[in-house]
Symmetry: C2
Subunit: 534 residues, 2 copies
């Protein structure tokens, strides 16, 4: 049978057009570099997006070209997201917190033709401009009056650029497997890798996420996760589909979050566990009253039981999700089983700390052994988390070897080690490289960290392997204490010994600030260096 | 870039596997022919589905073959849905209420190789068996003990068939555009047409519907809409994705619905407006108390304002949706705008009576003029509703002419006439063929019906064109009165004259039972015949 109607591609363009047609009056609330309280409608936003698409044309950007952004979550970044991807180019969201040499590597590797940046990042770009080999234009995301003085070549003002363009633009028909955007991995091991996303994956991620995240039509979403982290977990695409209000969050603080909830009635947001801690530990003057439940999605590390208990009483319901840059963000969720409602609080927290099961858009996420076989779902056996589905990247940009390796055996390999409970729930034991092997036993650094985090004086900790003549490796813990709290090495060791098997008890506790990457991840490789001689 | 991971097809198989892996203990509650209160888990259901797939193989069914069903909504029909489609065959759900000559035409046209039927439909099939040209086997959906005596050739018992088969089955990898199922249109004009659905469309319909229907994970859904009406509006596929509980409804009565809500905590169901009336008009002994809100989706005709008001007070929230057999069911929904919360009740009802805007999985649903151009969104101008998107059928089976015509100009043509309000909401004025043209004015039969339905004695009505020497056509109304209520022709005419323009007032009111098709649709063509001489 001839397919007359079938070839409607799954694209971000269709999400945008759906929103413009059906939710023209819904709003985007933005804190931009030149306006602390900007707001406009989807209709206005997408009119400007068409002007921007014409501007990209004028700048010589065509199908498949890469366009970089160094920007916070404001309405102009939102416009860029749509204009670049829907005109068939690739939106490369660069993490502005990276070190200069990483920025140079990434921008050159991505071959970014044009870079759009917030005014505050102009000095960073000036500093590296003579090392950038492909970038012809730098466009500052501000108005003419606020344009900074700069030596950047091809410098343009975003608002001036838009003012010159027509608001008529015919979006091209794109194949659904056209790349739409890219993010580089944080590169804790080796060179950062360019993860390429495509329209079909973004579309399906967008369709599958609201089900799990209890988002029906017209939520109010606060964009806390930076757009340069896996496309802000895809919420930029999801909100238009849902007719949701987007509330930009530039200053990630307890005050800004509480204000958004109270003033804009924010109903949903995502954030790292540090954001949960911010909310729990907010000063009285930062808190606001509100009368609705806020759904919070957190990823990166299991939230601590004490944090979960405290934030629940404040009116927030927390769901842990799990994913990687390579999977557009979250693809696994810690789905709550109503049978657990009657469990003791501690048991409930331990269930919430499980990474969970596949989200609806994924075909398969499970745990396999070295030979690619499903492990026993006994809550003990360990294996690697692997995934298959449309919400897995297209591949690493200009890196076929790494792509082949990541996809060996027909799965995407997460390099995260997990157990699986009898109900199929996955629980991360450790990153492959963070497992401690002591006397032939595999010890999960995360398990020990969990035990230490339960100590009332501990704010943050990280456990790494310390070389040991007798055992091969032994656990060594690095600890940050809460302000005003004290604890000794012997106390913490005794505390852990009461909770874990003897061979899992750290042999050393070192109190110090933990080294973190520019994206806030703890740099265990530095700690391993310190542990060697500690 | 080489696509290693991209080719994960969007299939019903992936929905089934998602459910079996992630929600094995969720239940299907079924009223089957041989057991009034059967229940089992998804895990048990899909184990039997694999046995059934082996049985289909044993019966000689292979990729692309058509398999018919004549059955109510029970667990065995659910198993058939998955086993037939996921093994690459086409599940043809036949409406058992059709007249014998229609059944013969449809089954032969579809070339059904095997037919699965409820025991109560065996006599119907015996009656037409010698006219069926392609059907080799008849399988009765019951246990060996309950098998009816029958002269049907190739007769088999469903449970006996399953008992012989292995529960191991490797589902084939299917292209996402493989046909999965088919339904015939009701054929009010000419021969019924076989609407072919495909896996991709079913998958995307399944992903897009929960957003609008406020279904997050683990709803409890009552399957009231027969599975032979647009695949039961796709809920059979949606529930596994959501880990929902499916509550079968064989006896569509107020008592069965209230019992499901009270005993199983049914949270969602869909049904024609007649179902809403049933609930509102239930006897005291049929009603049950419940403490949660039930979301109800209705389609086929705008619900009457009085019904909406009454059912809202009983704890039901009603959303009108719109679609056709050709669009897998609903693709447009009467999205509520929170700004309307403060409108007077009558105004609110009139908003709820609008068909609405495109659901998330559709690319475009709008209203166009004769030349295919968007009409003015002024709430007055009329045009035809057209649609484009993945949730539009693949085409009509063995009917390229009708397919080409339905898709002319790159849209699917609904043949429904509508206006569009300034906010984009569509409101059906009439079926193309039901428009009354009087003195050069187009009159919507639906508008007049709405006015008559507001009369307190009227239960149901239908308005058609009556030929008229002076005006060309004039409206003629057929009315069913509520039990125990009386009204005269003059009274009803006077009532309508107070509400509509003079030329829209019916010239004749005829009190009689309205003729309906086997699917419950009013047969206006019969009424037009009566009107000619009335």
């Amino acid at each position: 049978m001839k397919n007359l109607m079938m070839d409607t591609p799954l694209t971000i363009t269709s999400l945008m057009e759906h929103a413009e047609r059906n939710f023209p009056t819904r709003e985007i609330v933005s804190v931009s570099s030149d306006n602390p309280s900007f707001r406009y409608t989807y209709s206005e936003a997408f009119t400007r997006t068409r002007k921007l698409a014409n501007a990209l044309n004028s700048l010589g950007i065509s199908l498949g070209d890469h366009v970089g952004t160094l920007a916070w979550n404001d309405h102009r970044h939102f416009e860029l997201y749509y204009a670049i991807s829907c005109s068939g180019a690739v939106c490369h969201t660069v993490n502005p917190r990276l070190f200069p040499e990483q920025l140079v590597y990434i921008i050159n590797h991505a071959e970014d033709q044009v870079i759009f940046c917030d005014p505050m990042f102009v000095p960073i770009l000036e500093n590296i401009q003579d090392q950038l080999t492909t970038t012809k234009h730098f466009i500052v995301l501000t108005s003419e009056e606020q344009m900074p003085e700069s030596t950047l070549p091809g410098l343009l003002c975003y608002e001036t650029l838009l003012a010159q363009e027509s608001s008529e633009f015919d979006w091209p028909e794109l194949d659904e497997k056209t790349p739409c955007s890219m993010c580089y991995t944080s590169g804790t091991t080796g060179r950062p890798k360019g993860v390429v996303y495509h329209h079909r994956g973004a579309y399906l991620m967008t369709m599958g996420t609201p089900i799990s995240w209890r988002m029906t039509l017209q939520p109010v979403f606060m964009a806390i996760v930076p757009l340069f982290h896996c496309n802000g977990w895809n919420h930029t695409w999801m909100m238009p589909l849902l007719g949701g209000t987007v509330v930009g969050c530039r200053d990630i603080s307890a005050k800004a979050i509480y204000d958004g909830i109270a003033d804009e009635r924010v109903s949903h947001f995502g954030g790292a566990p540090i954001v949960l801690n911010m909310i729990v530990n907010a000063e009285d003057g930062e808190r606001r009253n509100f009368d609705h439940q806020v759904e919070v999605f957190t990823a990166g590390a299991p939230p601590a039981p004490a944090t979960l208990a405290a934030i629940g009483q404040l009116g927030f319901n927390v769901t842990q999700v799990y994913g990687l840059t390579e999977t557009y963000g979250h693809v696994v969720e810690s789905l709550w089983n109503p049978d657990w409602d009657t469990l003791p609080a501690e048991e409930q927290s331990s269930r919430k700390a499980r990474q969970g099961i596949a989200m609806p858009m994924m075909d398969l996420t499970t745990v396999v052994d070295d030979t690619g076989q499903q492990i026993a779902m006994d809550g003990v056996t360990q294996g690697e988390i692997v995934m298959r589905g449309n919400s897995v990247m297209k591949g690493y940009y200009k890196n076929p070897e790494a792509t082949e390796k990541a996809f060996s055996g027909g799965f995407f390999h997460s390099e995260d080690i997990a157990i699986q409970h009898p109900d199929g729930m996955m629980q991360i034991a450790d990153r492959m490289k963070d497992i401690i092997i002591s006397g032939g036993e595999n010890i999960s650094s995360i398990e020990i960290e969990g035990a230490i985090m339960a100590h009332p004086a501990v704010s943050l900790c990280a456990v790494v392997a310390k070389p040991d003549d007798k055992w091969g490796e032994v656990p060594c813990a690095f600890v940050e204490l809460l302000e005003g709290k004290l604890a000794t090495e012997a106390e913490v060791i005794a505390f852990v010994r009461g909770r874990l098997a003897g061979f899992k008890t750290p042999k050393r506790i070192i109190f110090q600030e933990l080294p973190k990457t520019s994206t806030g991840k703890i740099q265990k490789f530095e700690l391993r260096d310190i542990a060697k001689t500690a």
